[in-house]
Amino acid sequence: MSELELEITHLIIEALGLEDIGPEDIGRELTLFGDGLGLDSVDALELGLAIQKRFGIKIDADAKDTRKHFANVASLAAFVSARQAA
């Protein structure tokens, strides 16, 4: 897991108040929403906000590929890197 992926993992735990879950429980390819970790729509909004605040990037909630970026920690890290480089 890259440093950015680890940071995002910690951000997920902290921003969503995941009691009893440690970074080791969230693999980089674990599905975050629905099955897998089991996050819901309020989590999606909260996580989007946390990512925007932490990394100073803008996320368009309506863009059709946003769902794809939020699939797992690896895709989120790739998305954040791409946006920061842009």
């Binding site: 969503l16 995941l18 009893d20 309020v42 909260e46 605040k53």
Partner: protein, 239 residues
């Protein structure tokens, strides 16, 4: 005048949880520490309890055992001040020009806790959230009595208060420590409650009224009077 039975009750305040704790407290009441102590809600999976504030945890902690083994039950939730820590956090974000937390926002409304209760228990019975000044307990009992009269097998009543953030200290002086009381009310004639008018006075009770009422219950007192402004509530235990 309304009549009802109190089938069972539960209460929580920091350091006060079991029935034995409350019996000891009733013999010589002491002020529980305000602190950060939270009641246990281990009966919920971690993913479900993570969004519960202490106010919600207190409400769930006292009400859950009262609901176990019962049919679906209506719930009346009363809190004078509600989720002040969440509201205060949102106001802080607004003042700093930051985006608002969707979680804080969605759970700050007064009926959020009964919504969570309904979802987590899978109970779609009628549920009501009220904020009724210093005599919220009586107004909640009135609401519960109406539900019993409509045929509910029993009604859960929860009154809970969280300590407001320090910024509210000049305005909120009736929550010396966080607490919650849960009652399961059924139809019957063990208790009667009536309201009359009196000259307006300042409340002189030593404890938040819901806890004063716990003292009435534990000391087997035959009656209890509670005045708020000009409303004089008379609780009477029928022999």
């Amino acid at each position: 005048m309304i009549h009802f039975n109190i089938d069972q009750w539960r209460a929580w305040a920091p350091g006060l949880d079991s029935a034995d704790d409350w019996v000891r407290w009733s013999r010589s009441p002491w002020q529980p520490p305000a602190g950060d102590e939270q009641p246990d809600v281990g009966f919920l999976p971690a993913m479900q309890r993570r969004r519960l504030s202490r106010l919600a945890r207190m409400a769930f902690h006292v009400a859950w055992p009262l609901a176990e083994g019962q049919p679906p039950l209506p719930l009346v939730f009363a809190s004078r001040h509600g989720e002040t820590p969440r509201t205060f956090a949102i106001l802080g974000e607004l003042a700093r020009g930051e985006p608002l937390s969707p979680t804080q926002f969605s759970l700050s409304v007064h009926n959020a806790i009964i919504g969570l209760w309904s979802i987590l228990r899978g109970d779609t019975s009628e549920m009501t959230a009220i904020a009724a000044e210093g005599d919220g307990l009586e107004h909640a009992v009135l609401e519960a009595a109406a539900l019993l009269a409509e045929g509910a097998p029993a009604v859960l009543l929860v009154i809970a208060e969280e300590q407001p953030p320090a910024a509210y200290a000049d305005w909120v002086d009736d929550v010396p420590f966080p607490y919650a009381v849960g009652l399961r009310l059924t139809a019957g004639r063990d208790w009667q409650l009536s309201c009359s008018s009196g000259a307006a006075t300042e409340s002189s009770a030593a404890w938040p009224h819901a806890l004063d009422f716990i003292l009435t219950l534990l000391r087997d007192a035959a009656q209890c009077q509670h005045q708020w402004k000009t409303r004089v509530w008379n609780w009477q235990r029928n022999p």
